[in-house]
């Protein structure tokens, strides 16, 4: 998906005009091509294959309204006895609108004790996050959350 040239150039010129007025050089984050729902589906398929993904067992804890999209705390927990016979093998987290569909893959095992991980992620825009867990019996379970991301009120300048 190609970013239309006109909007990219207009953004850049707008900023260049602002730069001349301020006499400073800001860091620009021009919006790159977004991930599409098709990319998200492909990324999920590369993990899951043709197996069925059921909803349930997975809890995705992420603030519904995010204070800053640069650092969003996220916890994924999977309901599982975590015994040698029945445990969480891995947790895969995906997103819908960042430039790339993958966020992280986390590999657990019977020694984990609890099927839970936490980390901090980046979200470029308000979007859906999907977490998929693979259990020791090969089954896949998922949960998804819609997150609203607001931008900082004032633009910042490079140091």
């Amino acid at each position: 998906m190609r970013e239309p040239d006109i909007s990219t150039r207009r953004q850049f010129l707008g900023l260049a005009g602002g730069v001349a007025a301020l006499g400073a050089v800001p860091m620009v984050t021009l919006r790159p091509a977004e991930a599409t729902p098709a990319m998200l589906a492909t990324a999920i398929r590369s993990v899951v294959g043709t197996a069925m993904v059921r909803t349930g067992k997975v809890k995705l804890d992420i603030p519904p309204l995010v204070e800053n999209g640069n650092t969003v705390p996220m916890t994924v927990s999977v309901l599982s006895p975590m015994t040698a016979e029945d445990y969480v093998k891995s947790i895969h987290v995906f997103n819908e609108k960042n430039p790339q569909p993958n966020i992280g893959n986390f590999y657990l095992g019977p020694r984990a004790g609890r099927g839970q991980i936490s980390t901090r992620i980046r979200l470029a825009d308000s979007q859906k996050i999907v977490a998929i867990a693979q259990l020791s019996d090969g089954s896949f379970w998922s949960a998804s959350v819609d997150v609203v991301v607001t931008l900082a009120a004032c633009t910042d300048e490079v140091i």
Binding site: F12, V28, T71, R111, A112, I121
Partner: protein, 106 residues
């Protein structure tokens, strides 16, 4: 100066489920940012994190640019025996860092 902050309980009872928290200093440059003159800032991220407990891998993570700067990762394990946790971070441009923490399990 890269540095890591590790939080592992100093001691635990055999069979306790303990939480391990790790924080590593790293810019996690996404590869999608550009300078004002339009040049792409190349990607520079940590791509993999591993934890070994007395030599056995108990946790591993693949990280992508969507992981925030100064990656914070927490996970759990069962306190099985006294010994050492070894943590390894590997990333772009030959980035490699290690840390370790001991635990006494009674």
């Amino acid at each position: 100066m890269a540095s890591a902050l590790i939080n592992v309980p100093a001691k635990a009872k055999r069979g306790d489920i303990i939480e391990i928290k790790t924080l590593m200093s790293h810019i996690m440059e996404t590869g999608y940012r550009r300078t004002a003159t339009g040049e792409l800032i190349p990607r520079d991220i940590i791509t993999s994190f591993t934890c070994r407990y007395n030599g056995v891998e108990i946790f591993r993570a693949d990280l992508f640019p969507a992981i925030a700067a100064n990656p914070f990762i927490t996970f759990f394990t069962v306190a099985a025996e006294s010994g050492k946790f070894d943590f390894d971070w590997i990333g772009d441009n030959g980035f490699t860092e290690s840390a370790s923490a001991s635990i006494a399990v009674e």
